[in-house]
Symmetry: C2
Subunit: 133 residues, 2 copies
């Protein structure tokens, strides 16, 4: 079966990033063709920032790089799943290990308030992110 | 912290679905405001099909429903992660448990060929999908 990723109208595929240590979802990012090719070639996670409109290597500013141990692609080849070895304390720019540090309580129909989970800051963002990463 | 999902230009957020049994990523889908509200209220996974332009409850045709045991939202509230109890043998319309049944080998720069992983069909799609699901 040929590798034939299906990019959306913006030239992107969604990328789910999980922690090889415990399977937690660390973040959801996007890859364009260049980011996907660089990730496959180098084994380091590269993404495309939709807000900054640029290719970036995860950790290029913070040092919190991601080494890809396995890459999967889904049935219709429009989403990628990478299992990574997360270097440093965390993946999230807020200082948490995972970007998914808040839970949405179920069973409510209105006035939903988020609940913190695993929310301790693993590092102080200001000390490692002089610019965004 | 208020729940304030950031929908994209198409009114959608990405939703990562993982298997509560082993943490595997089963699928990546999309939710519009209605799908998100129905999922939160009922605890069953509802999505928005981009191809069919309609709201659907996972498993409404196949019986392979997903019971949500936890919902998380990411730092910028544009992606959701749900941990589910997958009813029936699988989540993927091809008959596999996970949509991510193929691996992309790393270290290549061209002619990438996908490798099957956990690719045994858990069920025969034609027997459970008279229509798409």
């Amino acid at each position: 079966m040929a590798f034939s990723p299906k990019f959306d109208a913006d030239g992107l595929v969604a990328c789910v990033v999980t922690d090889m240590r415990n399977g937690d979802v660390l973040m959801v990012a996007h890859m364009n063709a260049d980011a996907l090719a660089k990730t496959i070639e180098t084994g380091d996670a590269w993404y495309f920032s939709r807000s900054r409109r640029k290719l970036w290597r995860k950790g290029e500013t913070s040092g919190h790089t991601q080494r890809v141990v396995e890459m999967r692609i889904d049935c219709d080849q429009d989403a990628v799943w990478i299992k990574v070895e997360q270097t440093g304390p965390g993946a999230c720019h807020t200082g948490r290990r995972s970007c998914f540090y808040r839970a949405v309580p179920l069973g409510r129909s209105e006035a939903v308030t988020l609940e913190f989970r695993d929310g301790e800051k693993a590092f102080e963002p200001r000390t490692v992110y002089p610019a965004d990463d």
